[in-house]
């Protein structure tokens, strides 16, 4: 049975002992007298913890033991593509030629870095069927914002400022409408049909001379391939809109189908999903954006270009209608290095194998779980990289919710699926196993879900009160929102007032 470490580890502030230091700095190179103006001198106390290096290492090691990563076990968060992160990626990204170079160095001294960016772009172009990429966006949402900003610039440039509506399916990731709104668009939601795909009739009715574009992920968040994608593209293009591909789900068709061939004009990718770079507990990610030729002049600056004649890579600021910058400098370079290592190792056949195995694993899990009491499968049976079951029957019959199922899975040392998303499925359990889990892990996951079903119908309390084996028990997130304690400083104040008892 799984047992996560329970260290009762104090906050680092509580471990502080006066006078201890965790690092020794070099001395100033010359003891110059420098006066800080009185009104700017720090007078407020600086309450940072004081610990020695070994204590710091123990503290964070214990914290890490109360955390679960891809290396700990299966982590099938839907739409997150939590595949294995090859260790060679980290090894190469740790090279001094990555860590110790400054972004403003003379181009002649960073040819290696520029070449890596350029090469990565060539791979991404072929994988997506796009013609030019920016690697600047820091994450998927930053990429989406880049893409929709390009759409806006394109329509303005064409003298069509009235195109202020962005169409987004009701099954879309929350970042899609949020990014569109940030770029100044009005968001129009397109309903899904009973198959879980875009309702063509609704789409026909929604498009107009105000349509700027449609943001779509294919396969969609149900893991279902939008088989009418060419029709969708036709409708949007005919209305004068552009088609945007949310690359969160690219792992389903990696190396097999190109968004460019489906009719998409703009694509964002998530290197931290599809291209095996680790997610770091929330980031850093990297969200490159690719466009078809007619949009290249709107990309952020700088691009990376190659001067074949002189065999020279360079930062290219010659982007006449550029939307500007969506992040400082050139993007998350260290993440790009990892993605390129992955691509080179996988190659054409490896990438195709990856998506095929991801789809096989998902369908294997789907068929094995199908028919288990309490779970139902809305929409088509055939899935791509992920599947969304509904625990609605279980909730109705036993009171056990999708959240309870998720928490109970943790007790078996298995990470939960994404829950309550997509919003169009009630009590959603969105499972994306990826290609890097073994059949035995898939079987164990199905077994655990079946056992939870039995528990729900036999002894629901054990599920409702889960988890039992993690570092802490079920967390009171209502209290967290009602009485926000957001820093040690706030905690001390509230504690003194007797407003918190933990």
């Amino acid at each position: 049975m799984f047992r996560q470490a329970k260290w009762d580890e104090p906050l680092i502030f509580e471990l502080s002992r006066e006078g201890r230091v965790g690092y020794t700095l070099p001395k100033p190179i010359e003891d110059v007298d420098v006066e800080i103006p009185e009104k700017l001198k720090r007078k407020s106390t600086l309450n940072l913890p004081e610990l020695s290096e070994p204590e710091i290492v123990k503290h964070y090691t214990r914290l890490s033991e109360m955390n679960y990563g891809v290396d700990s076990g299966i982590y099938p968060l839907g739409s997150c593509t939590m595949k294995y992160n090859p260790k060679i990626n980290e090894e190469i990204a740790g090279h001094p030629g990555v860590a110790y170079i400054h972004p403003y160095q003379d181009e002649r001294t960073v040819q290696g870095a520029l070449r890596i960016m350029w090469e990565l772009e060539q791979w991404l172009k072929e994988i997506t069927g796009m013609d030019r990429f920016t690697l600047q966006p820091a994450a998927g949402a930053n990429g989406e914002f880049t893409g929709v900003s390009i759409i806006r610039a394109y329509h303005l440039d064409n003298g069509e400022p009235q195109r202020d509506e962005m169409l987004v399916p009701d099954s879309a990731h929350g970042t899609n409408p949020a990014s569109a709104a940030m770029a100044g668009f009005k968001v129009i939601e397109i309903p899904s049909n009973e198959n879980g795909t875009v309702d063509l009739e609704a789409l026909e009715n929604a498009v107009s001379e105000r349509t700027a574009g449609l943001m779509l992920t294919n396969p969609n968040t149900l893991g279902i391939f939008e088989d009418e994608i060419l029709e969708i593209a036709k409708i949007v293009h005919k209305a004068g809109g552009l088609l945007y591909y949310d690359g969160a789900n690219l792992n389903a068709v990696l190396g097999k189908v190109r968004p460019g061939d489906m009719g998409f004009d703009i694509v964002h990718l998530n290197l931290h999903k599809t291209f095996s770079t680790p997610h770091g507990g929330g980031g850093p990610g990297s969200g490159p954006v690719g466009v078809k030729d007619f949009l290249r002049d709107y990309l952020p600056v700088p691009l990376v270009s190659y001067d074949e004649e002189n065999d020279r890579y360079y930062l290219d600021y010659n982007v006449p209608k550029s939307i500007g910058k969506v992040k400082e400098l050139y993007g998350n370079f260290a993440v790009m290095v990892k993605a390129l290592v992955y691509l080179k190792i996988m190659g054409r056949e490896g990438l195709r194998n990856a998506s095929e195995m991801a789809v096989l694993n998902t369908n294997y899990l789907t068929r094995k779980l199908l028919g288990t009491r309490g779970y139902e499968l809305p929409g088509k049976k055939l899935r791509k990289h992920e599947v969304v079951f509904s625990a609605e029957p279980m909730k109705k019959e036993t009171g056990v919710t999708a959240m309870d199922v998720a928490k109970r899975l943790l007790d078996f040392g298995l990470h939960a699926p994404t829950v309550y998303f997509p919003l169009i499925v009630h009590e959603a359990l969105m499972i994306e196993p990826t290609e890097t889990v073994s059949r035995e892990e898939l079987d164990a996951y199905v077994e655990a879900l079946k056992r939870i079903s039995e528990e729900a119908y036999g002894n629901p309390e054990v599920v409702k009160s889960a988890p039992h084996n993690t570092a802490v028990r079920r967390i009171d997130d209502v209290l967290a929102a009602k009485k926000p304690v957001l820093s040690w400083r706030m905690y001390l104040e509230l504690k003194e007032k007797g407003e918190v008892d933990y």
Binding site: I29, M66, P96, Y104, K344, I345, R439, D477, L486
Partner: protein, 448 residues
């Protein structure tokens, strides 16, 4: 290739058969005919071959360990203690996703809560999110937030002209959709914000942004006064500060900031050619402000046993719940960069951070004194990290001559600030060595 990452490749046929499929193609039967293509990509390689190849490519980069460099201008060479890198590479941290299941992710959540707490101490504001992409996007998000706080009735955001061109460009792009008017306030003859011009610009502004040390490295003495002017005009006051200066300089919160921003990656993270980084975002403890904050926030609460626990909180601001009405579209942030920054901060402690600030200040002062022997320093005053030096000769030629001597000179800013002529920013941190500075000055004596 890469079959060593694909455990079930060897059982493919068996598994297909078991679930009633005869081939992989059947799994893709819903893809329109002709859409599946053969890709024009290289064959996969062995790990060893890729290791060799990329080592060779990366050796084409000349690092700041091989070539004394005086580049700064928003990216700085700081030393990262070995244990920081070691700890953030613990795979339980490195390979985790955003902590959606808090019970099994307490380690990351606590580490991020500690990051928020340490930054709260540095910036003197108790509410900090668990990171933005970088300092530039943090300013842009702050600008948008001040407009939301004014319910869109004010759309003007005031920034100093002496700001990094990178940050300036990000602010432009981010605020275009909301139709913000970005107004620049130039510097006076001392190089600091022109207070009279500021008073004109601030009228009807949603927010005013100032940096404790401007793009030229010059310490802005009148932060508190600028804040008072902003507030008098009904604008929110946003202060940018490099965290490495806050051991010796007063906290933005104490100087009147409603919102403070900065760059967390200056601590605990290498330069990495400019990314990843992490933006600090802090606000006053005010419900109105907190409700409009962008980004993920970790809160402390308790579990079913009444035990202390951590969780992502106040999520009704965020895109996965609020969708088009969210305070920001940010989802993935820079969590691991933030944790590295916190580990470095914990290692320094209050004394270490103060010392770090002092060492940087003294090293910068030495660099400035020596540069003044060979160039003109356009503004008198106190500098932190960056020092502008103006030359007679075109800086491009000087740069070439320095590079030929194995030294990387400063960052040329004449392109962005033509009024400053042939000026470059030279930078010092705690990593700067005296012999590097002396070699630079010797070389400049010959070539400038």
């Amino acid at each position: 290739m890469g079959r060593h990452y694909l455990p079930n490749l060897a059982q493919r046929e068996e598994m297909l058969k078991e679930i009633g499929f005869s081939s992989v193609e059947e799994l893709f039967a819903d893809v329109p005919k002709g859409m599946v293509k053969e890709f024009n990509l290289p064959e996969g390689k062995s790990e060893y071959e890729v290791f060799l190849e990329l080592n060779e490519v990366l050796s084409k980069n000349k690092t700041v360990l091989e070539m004394p460099s005086f580049l700064g201008a928003g990216t700085y060479f700081h030393y990262v203690p070995a244990h920081v890198k070691y700890l953030i590479e613990r795979s339980e941290f490195l390979t985790a996703y955003t902590p959606y299941q808090p019970e099994i992710s307490q380690g990351m959540l606590q580490a991020l809560f500690e990051y928020q707490s340490m930054m709260a101490e540095l910036y003197g504001l108790p509410v900090v999110n668990s990171s933005m992409y970088d300092w530039g996007t943090a300013i842009a998000e702050a600008a948008l937030m001040t407009v939301r706080l004014h319910r869109g009735r004010r759309k003007r955001f005031v920034i100093p002209k002496a700001i990094s061109p990178e940050k300036r460009a990000v602010i432009e792009t981010y605020t275009r959709g909301a139709n913000l008017e970005i107004v620049e306030v130039t510097w006076d003859e001392s190089g600091k914000i022109d207070i009279e011009k500021l008073k004109e610009a601030v009228e009807n502004a949603a927010g005013v942004y100032v940096e404790m040390a401007n793009f030229f490295g010059l310490v802005e003495e009148n932060v508190r006064e600028i804040g008072e002017i902003a507030k008098e005009a009904g604008a929110y006051f946003v202060v940018g500060a490099d965290p490495t200066m806050l051991g010796i300089f007063e906290a933005p919160g104490e100087l009147g900031a409603d919102i403070a921003v900065g760059e967390a990656s200056y601590l605990g993270n290498p330069m990495n050619f400019g990314g990843p980084r992490a933006g600090v975002f802090a606000v006053r403890d005010d419900k109105k402000l907190i409700r409009q904050m962008p980004g993920r926030i970790i809160g402390m609460t308790k579990d079913a046993d009444g035990k202390r626990a951590f969780v992502m909180t106040l999520q009704t601001r965020e895109q996965h719940i609020r969708r088009a009405k969210a305070t920001s579209n940010i989802c993935s942030n820079e969590a691991l960069v933030a944790v590295a920054s916190a580990i470095h901060l914990a290692s320094l402690g209050p004394k270490g951070l103060k010392e770090l600030g002092e060492v940087i200040l003294k090293n910068t002062a030495y660099l400035k004194r020596r540069l003044s022997e060979v160039a003109e320093i356009p503004f008198e005053g106190l500098y932190f990290k960056d020092v502008p030096a103006r030359f007679e000769r075109p800086y491009g030629e000087i740069h070439e001559a320095l590079l030929a001597r194995g030294i990387h000179g400063g960052y040329y800013i004449g392109e962005h600030f033509p009024e400053l002529g042939e000026t470059a920013l030279f930078s010092a941190t705690e990593t700067t060595r005296k012999e590097w500075v002396d070699a630079l000055i010797e070389a400049l004596k010959e070539v400038a």
